[in-house]
Amino acid sequence: MGISVKHISKSYKNVKALQDISFEVKPGELFGLIGPDGAGKTTLFRILTTLLIANEGTATVAGFDVLHDYKSIRKHVGYMPGKFSLYQDLTIEENLEFFATIFGTTIEENYDLIKDIYVQIEPFKDRRAGKLSGGMKQKLALCCALIHKPKVLFLDEPTTGVDPVSRKEFWEMLKRLQEKDITILVSTPYMDEAALCDRIALIQDGEILQIDTPEAIVKHYPKQIYNVRANNMYQLINNLNAYKYNHSVYPFGEFIHYTDSREDFEPADLVAYLESKNLLHIEIEKTEATIEDTFMELAK
């Protein structure tokens, strides 16, 4: 009753947006599609929400086929597109009421489902949606997508353009919704949010790179990662890139994530090399792999 995707492919003219995508989302699961802009996430969402037809493959959502049973799917899913898509000239309350009405329900009927979210924006319920901040808009959009108690919820990049505090709150809300037996498919370009999903699919250029739990994905990272830091970060990157034994070099916050191609790598060797390049205050320490590291490794 969750989502089942089998060998879905989709191309626009000569661009292949999706290539042979297959995965399963179990009922009640919070599943993340992680990938950069242009990876094909929105196309996949539109196919699953019956807005587009795939060139190849089949998919079912809540047990309904996306092609033949599209009318049933439209009754039972909640969809929040990537672009803010509510009526800007209607107030919070009017938007919510409108979506409740077209889904044949009322705000009161499913109030318990949206209560946690709605109380945060309720003080502004007479304000027009166009005048809300990014975080409030997302909360309203989520309320509107939930108002008919959908079986499956599709959230396309719900936190893009939202401040860090609201992002955190938003994910807490998703966790609570999951407890109410709603299957959630969420996409995001932010790797740190991936860790909050039950399972994730890493997607790039229309292909799925890996599907697993966030923990397993990190655990299977093949190499030891080192945090490297020095007085001149720009020069450090250049020198590491020029180092003949390097396997990968990525800036990561205040450090550089470095992996070496040798099995018997000794950090002291690298320190000696960097010192020969006149770098000072060199720090090297082991660190845990993150989903971002995995993604970069897979996307290589």
Binding site: R74, Y79, Q88, E109
Partner: protein, 378 residues
């Protein structure tokens, strides 16, 4: 989910949708202005300012004879409400300069010994020189002056009986005073109904596409058909109000008579409103943005309505190809219908053909847009 009978649920959904549409309309100042400001502005503009009737036209007199007859003619002209004598000039060369200054629209040039010639040869000449930079006005002026001269001539001849004489007497029926406002009201009404219905609906549907709300509406139980009906319903209502405002304004401000049945006028207007709405829906299915929808409505609908519907330029004086093209313009048929009802007072038996054509066009446009309407994004 609470159980509601299906019909009641559908009705509630439909009402909810229409409520939302009215919020959109009343919260957008621009669309409000187009809806209600435009009709009033246009009807007043066409009624008062843009007119080719003549009223107190300034003319000049060049009288070479200055005798009793010319004096009498001049008095008659001055006494009419159509002309006022601005200047008396003395020599031929003044004619050119007075026209160049643009002070007068016409000059009456009486020949020398006007009375004497009239008695001696029973023939005297007066030259009417008009400023034809505006040909329509020049034509009307010369006709009016001619009429005054003819009338005077008749008075002179009333004691003499001619055996054979053909005197053409022209009578303008349906608009005897040649009031241009009578011509413009049907045209303006057509334009307004077209504009409000077609442009506003096409814009309001494409707005949903552009803002992405159409995506959400598609992923909901509301059917595309219901979205469309919900979209056009408020505009039917508002267009009817507009039609009423226009008719009321023309009756009370311009004393325009409505000869025929008001009910028939109303029904025909509703038919034309639906034709225009169907066109609006069709436009919205082929345009992705509000801008495109507006451009198509303006270029594709407004221009043909103004130029080819017979509103300003008579269809019979158009080149044949344009006359043929004018047949596919719904506005042409509607203008024929409302001119018939308002000015001639005819009933349905005289305009059923035009009504049927409009009806056919409406069914065609609706069919086409239903076929073109997408239940998905592409």
């Amino acid at each position: 989910m609470r159980f509601l009978p299906l019909q009641a649920l559908k009705m509630k959904r439909f009402i909810g949708f229409i409520k939302k549409e009215f919020y959109h309309i009343f919260r957008d100042r621009r669309s409000l202005f187009i809806l209600f400001g435009m009709p009033i502005a246009q009807i007043l503009l066409f009624g008062f300012a843009i007119t080719n009737e003549i009223n107190n036209v300034d003319i000049a007199i060049l009288d070479h004879s200055k005798d009793a007859t010319t004096k009498e003619i001049i008095n008659k002209i001055a006494a009419s409400e159509y002309f006022s004598i601005k200047q008396i000039i003395e020599k031929e060369s003044d004619i050119e300069s007075i026209f160049k200054k643009g002070k007068v629209k016409a000059v009456l040039n009486f020949e020398k010994d006007f009375s004497k010639n009239l008695i001696k040869d029973s023939k005297a000449t007066v030259q009417i020189i008009t400023d034809a930079t505006d040909p329509n006005t020049a034509n009307t002026i010369s006709n009016f002056i001619n009429a005054i001269l003819q009338k005077y001539q008749k008075e002179l001849n009333k004691d003499i009986t001619f055996v054979y004489q053909i005197v053409p007497e022209t009578r303008m029926v349906y608009n005897p005073e040649l009031k241009s406002v009578y011509m413009f009201v049907p045209g303006v009404m057509t334009i307004i109904l077209m504009l409000v219905s077609a442009m506003m609906t096409s814009i309001s549907i494409t707005r949903e596409k552009e803002l992405g709300t159409m995506e959400i509406l598609l992923v909901s139980p509301i059917k595309p058909f219901q979205v469309i009906v919900g979209k056009v319903f408020p505009y039917i209502f508002l267009s009817i109000i507009n039609a009423i405002v226009i008719v009321v304004l023309s009756i009370f401000i311009f004393n325009m008579p409505v000869q025929g049945s008001l009910l028939l006028l109303g029904l025909e207007s509703v038919l034309f409103i639906i034709t225009s709405l169907a066109l609006g829906i069709l436009i919205s299915t082929i345009s992705a943005t509000q801008q495109t929808a507006m451009m198509i409505s303006l270029m594709g609908l407004m221009l043909p309505v103004i130029l080819l519907s017979g509103f300003i330029f008579p269809i019979s004086s158009m080149p044949i190809p344009l006359q043929v093209i004018s047949n596919i313009i719904p506005a042409k048929w509607f203008i024929i219908i409302i001119k018939g009802i308002m000015l001639k007072g005819v009933g349905i038996q005289f305009i059923w053909k035009e009504t049927l054509i409009l009806l056919g066009m409406t069914v065609f446009f609706i069919g086409l847009s239903v076929k073109k309407y997408k239940i998905r994004l592409e």
